[in-house]
Symmetry: C2
Subunit: 222 residues, 2 copies
Amino acid sequence: MRVLYHFPVHAGCRRVRLALAEKGVACELQTEQVWQRREGFLRMNPAGEVPVLVEQDGAIVPGSGVITEYLEEAYPDPTLLPGGPLDRAEARRLATWFAWKFHREVTENLADEKIFTRFMRTRQPDSMVIRAGHANVHYHLDYIAWLYERRNWLAGPDLSIADLTAAAELSCLDYLGDVPWDEHPGAKDWYARIKSRPSMRALISDTLPGLPPQAGYADLDF
Amino acid sequence: MRVLYHFPVHAGCRRVRLALAEKGVACELQTEQVWQRREGFLRMNPAGEVPVLVEQDGAIVPGSGVITEYLEEAYPDPTLLPGGPLDRAEARRLATWFAWKFHREVTENLADEKIFTRFMRTRQPDSMVIRAGHANVHYHLDYIAWLYERRNWLAGPDLSIADLTAAAELSCLDYLGDVPWDEHPGAKDWYARIKSRPSMRALISDTLPGLPPQAGYADLDF
């Protein structure tokens, strides 16, 4: 069986889980605590990071961006990079925006700061970092609303890796109750639509030991 | 004419310049000082970063990773992602390694710290940051030597985006004389081979005002 080494409320892993589910590619999940630097895992991915996909024949594909491009080539139907080269570039631009810019400005400061300091037991979460994450999230939600007002999905007429990447990042914050949905109704409309897709179901049943999700996390009507 | 908005000794821009040159796609260069946050530039790329490619028909493609994928689709011959989906995943894995991991651990600490603090006039370069860059570069050079001992190019039998991305990062450090080549003969062999390609010529004639390259920068026999 195909295996994805992952960690439950981890944005890059969630992006891949959404892509697998949208494409109907079955996959077993194996939780990897990367901070233990397990030797067998480092041999699979010298970068020491989740996610890592191991195919049924043992082929190894590491990294969320690399895996999503691989899935698109190996399992092209349905596509998550619809259209021609420029449409695909726009979907990749927004996926990069959320996976790198949003991640660095928001997700790292909120979800990673609260979750990984806890599990790695290195130190207490830093309240200045958390405050920066809360300050930065607004303009990104405005950007989602702006895009969604003009297009059917974030990158164009069809669902793409841009939507899945944004949903993966936001779902980690939403687990913690850190998305000010009520101040951003346009972004909330887009998220409600993607949250109702079957691919989101598995994410919504994730739980972290000792750190349960906020009350509205699993509700489609939030 | 096609235009690439770039900055001279900038790794992401160099990766795209190498890909354009390897594919024989002619392109005019326009230097953009991103820290000025020019309005016309922000309209092209809301992320406010170089590189940005503008095609002859006005189509805009921003970001080094997005542009290299776009070039591969729009100008597939010669390919920089040779082989099947798994070979392409390996080339993308290593491109990501150099563009993100090497960049964050080494290039940001050395080239960006020395060059961009100077041009942005924000502060003096931080000697602790520079020291971290010098400490981190060794294991990456060992990794290049390890790969190159086992393969014809970094990702496999053929030149790929992995080689161009590694060369783009290292060429910025090499401009400053910050690569300890003599301690890493295996990595030096690989770099000497890629440095002799015609695509590297334009990079080698880059200069930054007030910050000339180190003496051996342009020499093929370094």
